[in-house]
Symmetry: C2
Subunit: 325 residues, 2 copies
């Protein structure tokens, strides 16, 4: 009744941006990500008959009741799926995702939790079912079931049964790297879930965002297959800019960007003008991630570190999918 | 055969963004601006039969042949309009528009040139005809014929005869102020005409931009009529953000913003959160203009000057239309 799983976070190159169902976490559009070796969560789940409620330890410390409702809610889903509603668990989760790097730990966290919980209960689920379950904990977590390049197919059914991740190319297909640029300034007044919802509900540009996804998805998959870095980078960067443009058309408008966000974007463009292929992408926050090729690692990291307002640069290779310890 | 005119620049609150005819300078959308007292151009035009070509003096210095083709081209239009194709002119133009403030001198420049040239030739033109002529020198210049709040009606005719400015409210209707924030960094790699064209031709968001104009125009005119500063400011700021969002959806995407542009935008939002009503607007470049009310002038200017990367803040009241000296 105990299992431990490890899951890596992922960075979306085609962004997940908008829900069509808030409670089942069904997306408005398909998305595509790269799983990252450098940032992960390990989680052990032990179901014990003597427990009367769940216990949650995060990075070695007990979390008090009421402070981990998302975890309990997700375990309820797994229990219900297994027909074991009265089995409570001790969950021990350790994040190797530096908060400052601007990755949500929810992607690796919910993927590891889902994998460990399902294995602890001895459920015979394949990766598709696991991805579908994981999606209901945190949308983008469903992509972290697989390594390398992964697509989350939005699906069209109201019950969400056709909305899960599928592998596009494994981590060893192509050595693409990602640098997470850590900003000196604290992130502030940035909405994430609320921003997404406001944009879907009010942005003048939201329907154009949705309309452009199939083209971007076709093109980036083509670029991944042929290992065309410029093509993948251009599509990823343009897709990110379109996502952020939708926030400027919301009512009221808003932006996730800081001044240093802008400076990093300009620096990446300047690197390209100087012959270093590099492309940025930005999630629903001020932090910038930069795609690059291994031969440019040193100059890229140094150039990014030299930008005023940049505190550190942490790089990562492509990572594997779920594993069990 | 000689006349001198003075024209002020203007700041668009509903942006002119996209041409439907490049040569006649016909816009895709109607726009609305406030004429600014603080920034102006005085231009004298003297037609002399003994000249065999035009002469142009800018800020007291002779401009060499071939370096003022836009001026000559515009005078050709006036000459043709007057039926006096063989009358050449000495033009003496002085800009009181600090370049660093990020105002194009073309708006006040072409308005003053048009007014002086037409008067020098003794043409009996009214302000509508003058605005229509001015438009063909520089689009946004057509709004500088009038003072205060001015709308440039896009018109629908292919020959442009119904595309000109109309006055909405005079300068003394309402004491609204504009602060031009001068950035320390040099503007670089910023496209203006080319950026507009690329956006019209390729942006995923351009049609949504156009679709939103009638609503923004109705609302801002309502706000001007009722002197509702919050309403005018919100619409102006949102309209500017939508314009800039269209550049992020262009192919390839681009942005006019610098890191300090972003810092000023955040500072203006922070001022509002602290109870100081202020709203920003940004043209096709990195500089920010801030709308405010006279009672907040001191705190607003000081707050903006305190932003790292801001060199100076120059403020202006609403200005008058064309005058003759």
């Amino acid at each position: 009744m105990k299992a431990t799983a490890k899951a890596h976070t992922n960075i979306a190159l085609i962004k997940y941006w908008g829900k069509r169902d808030e409670s089942l976490i069904l997306p408005m559009n398909s998305s595509l990500s790269l799983t990252l070796d450098g940032f992960y969560t390990t989680t052990s789940v032990e179901f014990r008959t003597e427990l009367t409620k769940d216990q949650f330890y995060l990075n070695g410390e007990a979390v008090v009741d009421g402070q981990f409702d998302r975890v309990t809610g997700f375990l309820n889903l797994i229990r219900s799926f297994a027909g074991k509603d009265n089995f409570f668990a001790t969950v021990n989760s350790t994040n190797h995702v530096p908060t400052a790097a601007g990755f949500a730990s929810s992607a690796s966290g919910f993927a590891a939790l889902a994998a460990a919980a399902v294995k602890a209960l001895g459920l015979p689920v394949d990766e598709t079912v696991l991805s579908r379950l994981t999606r209901q904990g945190s949308g983008s977590a469903c992509r972290s079931i697989y390594g390398g390049f992964v697509e989350w197919e939005k699906g069209s059914k109201a019950d969400g049964t056709d909305s899960y991740a599928v592998p596009i190319a494994p981590a060893d297909h192509w050595d693409i790297r990602v640098a997470a640029v850590v900003l000196s300034s604290k992130a502030k007044k940035v909405l994430s879930r609320e921003g997404m919802k406001r944009t879907v509900d009010t942005s003048a540009f939201y329907s154009s965002w949705i309309d452009g996804i199939p083209h971007d998805m076709d093109q980036i998959k083509d670029g991944i297959r042929t290992k065309d870095f410029e093509k993948v980078g251009k599509i990823a960067e343009a897709n990110c800019l379109k996502m952020h443009a939708t926030t400027l058309g919301a009512n009221p408008p808003f932006s996730y960007w800081h001044d240093t966000t802008m400076a990093v974007m300009h620096a990446v463009r300047e690197l390209r003008e100087n012959g270093i292929p590099a492309y940025f992408t930005i999630d629903a926050g001020p932090n910038v991630k930069v795609l690059y090729l291994p031969e440019n690692e040193q100059i890229l990291k140094q150039s990014l570190r030299d930008i005023p307002g940049v505190h550190d640069v942490i790089s990562s290779k492509a990572g594997q999918g779920i594993s069990y310890l």
